[in-house]
Amino acid sequence: MNPPGSLEALDPNVDEHLSTQILAPSVHSDNSQERIQARRLRIAARLEARRREALGEYLDGKKESEEDQSKSYKQKEESRLKLAKLLLCGTELVTNIQVAIDIREIHRRVEEEEIKRQRIEKLENEVKTSQDKFDEITSKWEEGKQKRIPQELWEMLNTQQLHCAGLLEDKNKLISELQQELKTKDDQYVKDLKKQSDDICLLLERMEEQVKNVMKTFREELYNIEKAFEVERQELLASNKKKWEQALQAHNAKELEYLNNRMKKVEDYEKQLNRQRIWDCEEYNMIKIKLEQDVQVLKKRDEESTVIKSQQKRKINRLHDILNNLRSKYAKQIKQFQEENQSLTSDYKRLVMQFKELQKAMRHFALIDDEKFWEIWLMNEEEAKDLIARAFDVDRIIHTHHLGLPWAAPDFWFLNNVGPISQQPQKSATQIVEEMLMRSEEEEAEEAAAEPESYLDLPKQISEKTTKRILMLLCDESGFLIESKLLSLLLPLEQNECYLLRLDAIFSALGIESEDDLYKLVNFFLKYRAHRLSSSLQIKPCSQASMEKASMEETSTRSELELAEQTEMEGEKEESLVEGEKEEEEETPPSPWVIHPNDVLKILEAFVMGLKKPRDSRAPLRVQKNVRDNSKDSEYWQALTTVIPSSKQNLWDALYTALEKYHLVLTQRAKLLLENSSLEQQNTELQALLQQYLNSKINSELQVPPTQVLRVPTK
């Protein structure tokens, strides 16, 4: 707008710019900090310029910026301005139609209002005039009523009709006018419609044109901008190329220089290398000679080593042979030993068998011995006792008959003794079990052999099998009583041994030690079962109590028995037998497999409860001898011999001599008596003979019977 002003404004700006450029750090500086600084300044300057231009300084700005602003930027600005203008103008052009229509509408409204107002005025006037006329007509009706003369009335009616017709005509005229107006309005409406459609067409046209224009210009401007960018790029490329070429030239020159330097150096190095090579050659020769000597030595050594090697190989082979031999020998030996081992084990087995048999036999013999011993003892004792009794009888007779003294039977402890003196040792429960198991084993082996003699004093009704089964059951069910360590140890053992050890552990836990306890246990089981059977028929809940009671009863009887047993050993067997019989009367032996495994624990509990009491009282009597004590035997027997004391023997001796004498006398007397008796007999015989003779027929035939002659002695 104002070129001189802008030029004036330009100068100081340029100066300022130059000065800043001089002072400002260069972008091409070596210092990075400085470069950054420079770039920042440049960006700031650009922003400043852009802002100024945007704020309306474009007249000044354009020229000012020509120096530092690129063509593309200029082109962009130009395009933007041009496009903005275009858009504004285009929009205006398009909206002009709307504005025109608006103003037309306003004018129409104004006119319409005016016309409306006029029409209303007109109508009002019309109404007023017609009302006047109507009033006039209506007033005339009054007049007409007063008219008497038909002529006048007719005239008046005519005039009235005329007036009415006039009024109607006026109204009709108005109506037609309004209708005419309506028609024109309709025409107007149609025209308006057409006009509006034209306007819309125009609007559409303009819009299309606008769109086309805008697109076209946008494309053009885009093209221009692209071109500007292209040009700028080309320029940049050219300048950069120039720079690049310069740099390349400099680079080439430097490279040439470097090449020369390098060549020189290469030559130097070559020389040095040659020198070095010569020197190295000499050294090499020297070393070579030395090394050859070394090689000779080494070769010799190598030969030696090969010899040694072969020797070693041979040795290895030999050793291998030996090793193989040894191996085969070893294998043979293993086989041998195995065989030996086998035979030995079989021997061992046999021996064990034998030993077992021996043991069995021994046990058998021991028992038999015991029995024999018992019998012999009894026999001897009986004999002794007989003797003693006779002695006592004799003594008594002597005392009473011969001496006339009162006789008192001597009272000695040993007189009452029957059987071996030692107490019958009670077997431990485990022993019994062991025996039983052994026996069962035998049984299994012998199968159908005759029933083994029951040297265990089992209660009669409890068969061995039953006991065994009960114990097995116990063993299976009360595994918890066994220590786990023991269980692990038991695993590899034989079944019977295993059972044995287990039962041992269980018994120790339960406190079962003696044979009796074991039988009690077995009996208990059986009784429990019997109770169960009976109580199952009766009322269930009382079963426990009744069982308890039964167990209590049993234990009480047991304890009594125990006491009796302590006092007299002999009685025990009988007692148990009696008891057994008693029990046999009460119940038939139940089979143990009817006992449910689940009941085992209950039974055990009850049993342990019951067992506790008697055990306390019995505790000190537990110590028992296993081996028979025969120290008192001789004493016993000795005592038996000295039943008759020596004083008595002396007495007896004296008595004996006296009696001897007495005997002598008596024998003599007896002899005499005998003589006497024989004489008497002779006498009688003779008498008989005589009688005979006297009584013979011959006598009668005789004249003189001798009888008459003779005096016959009559007795």
Binding site: M1, L47, R52, L55, G56, E57, V99, D102, I103
Partner: protein, 501 residues
């Protein structure tokens, strides 16, 4: 066929059970001379075919035949492929979509027919691609930008619009729309309906030939021309934001009757109740519907204290001063941001009441009073209000019979106000002096970007200068938008220089 079955059964007894169906499927191939060439790629199992000629069978079994370059055995499609095709075919009966892997879902969606019933697809398919196809299938021209960029939303909005446009009260079953409601309620945000059909009139049907005096007939009939009641629909749409209604009939042709275009009181009441109940509504437009003062007041009363309403457009109606007064009340009882009363019958008193409300309003940013008749009294009142208002940015007073006094006041406003960016005073009688005064006012203004003074009797020179000032303002605004940080400094730095220019 029966023969082949028996022979095959004789030849190949182990497969006799299979051979019947195989033969039936491959019979066509055996009859043709070169079946493998003409065979479509879909036929799935050629390799398994079993026919009485084993030699041909061997040829069939081969995957590559060197002497026949065109032969290639159709690869058996993957099981997943078959399943997907089956799903697509039976989608209507058994829609399976969400259970599948994403890539399979994509495949299914790409092949679903756009004709599937909405009851199946509406709440199941979210894929924009599918709805794009639906829209394209149904309408030739689609402006997805008018529907928030969502094809699904567009489909439902246009579908609903279509139903509403062709709804005839009393004839169409209301269930048609109410059934759609549960399907579209989550997607429809804008309802734009530019025609509401009146109920069909019985006498017109009885005497279809007698068209000439049907108007008189209609008047005699005591017409019940209530339109579709939007209440249920609006209540059902949970995301409705925009309601754009025109009570109008399009393409009536020679059946024109005045009572086709009635916006009845009952319509008005039901509409008012509906928009009152709709708390999500942001934009409400009711144009070209012959809304007079009373109806406008009914509607505006229902909008009082509405929580989110931002835009109200009642242009092209018959609203007078009372309606304008109602709108003024609404301005102070809502968060209205845009008010459009263009082409109504608002006069000076209405404008004065609007100005009174505007004076201390802090929400309204756009006011349009084009083609009313507020005259200088109303214009002056508005100008006074703008001296205190700090919110309004756009004001349209075109075609309002304004003249110099208003311009004088407005020039003062221009010097003070820093929020107005666009004023339209076209088609008024501003006059030469008024133009000069406005130019003076413009010289102090830095914010106004548009000032329309066309056909308002302003001198060309002042119009041009005003245009220059506007241009400078625009450039400044652009600069501000480019780098807002320098905004303050540039204003201060360039203040004096600009005055020189």
């Amino acid at each position: 066929m029966q023969d082949t079955v028996t022979t095959s059964a004789l030849l190949d007894p182990s497969h006799s059970s299979v051979s019947t169906q195989d033969n039936s499927s491959t019979g066509g191939h055996t009859s043709s001379t070169s079946p493998q060439l003409s065979k479509p790629s879909i036929t799935p199992v050629p390799a398994k075919s079993r026919n009485p000629h084993p030699r041909a069978n061997i040829r069939r079994m081969r995957r590559i035949i060197a002497e026949d370059p065109e032969w290639s055995l159709a690869i058996v499609p993957l099981l997943t492929e078959l399943c997907i095709q089956h799903i697509i075919r039976n989608f209507q009966k058994n829609p399976i979509l969400k259970q599948m892997l994403p890539e399979h879902q994509q495949k299914v969606l790409n092949h679903l027919s756009p004709d599937l019933p909405l009851a199946v697809t509406a709440n199941l398919i979210d894929s924009e691609n599918y709805w794009l196809r639906c829209c394209m299938h149904r309408w030739p021209v689609c402006h997805v930008a008018h529907h928030g960029g969502s094809w699904k939303r567009m489909f439902f909005e246009r579908h609903l619009e279509n139903l509403l446009k062709h709804f005839i009260p009393g004839t169409t079953d209301p269930a048609v729309i109410l059934d759609l409601l549960p399907l579209c309620r989550n997607y429809v945000r804008r309802v734009h309906v530019d025609q509401f059909l009146p109920p069909v009139q019985l006498p017109a049907q009885l005497r279809p030939g007698d068209q000439s005096d049907s108007g008189s007939e209609g008047e005699m009939e005591e017409p019940t021309v209530d339109h579709y009641q939007l209440g249920d629909l609006v209540a059902g749409l949970s995301h409705l934001e925009e309601l754009d209604l025109v009570y109008d009939v399009k393409d009536c042709g020679m059946n024109f009757e005045w009572n086709l275009f009635l916006f009845t009181y009952r319509d008005c009441l039901s509409l008012a109740a509906a928009i009152k109940a709709c708390h999500t509504l942001k934009i409400f437009k009711l144009t070209r519907s012959k809304v007079d003062d009373d109806k406008a007041r009914i509607i505006i009363r229902s909008l009082l204290d509405h929580p989110v309403l931002e835009e109200l457009d009642l242009s092209q109606n018959l609203i007078g001063d009372r309606g304008a007064r109602g709108a003024a009340k609404l301005l102070s009882h809502s968060r209205l941001r845009v008010l459009n009363l263009a082409n109504n019958q608002v006069r000076a008193p209405g404008a004065q009441s609007l100005a009174h409300a505007l004076a201390h309003n802090t929400n309204l940013i756009s006011l349009n009073l084009r083609l009313n008749c507020i005259e200088d009294e109303g214009g002056q009142a508005l100008a006074h209000a703008l001296q205190t208002n700090k919110c309004l940015t756009t004001l349209h007073l075109g075609g309002n019979e304004l003249s110099e006094p208003t311009a004088t006041l407005l020039s003062q406003v221009l010097a003070i106000n820093t929020t107005l960016t666009s004023i339209n005073l076209s088609c008024n009688h501003i006059g030469l002096d008024g133009g000069k005064q406005l130019l003076e006012g413009m010289s102090d203004n830095k914010t106004l970007l548009e000032f329309d003074l066309r056909l308002s009797d302003v001198a060309q020179e002042s119009e041009y200068l005003i245009g220059q000032a506007l241009y400078a303002n625009r450039e400044a605004a652009r600069q501000r938008a480019l780098n807002p940080s320098h905004f303050m400094s540039t204003i201060t730095a360039n203040g004096p220089e600009n005055s020189v220019g």
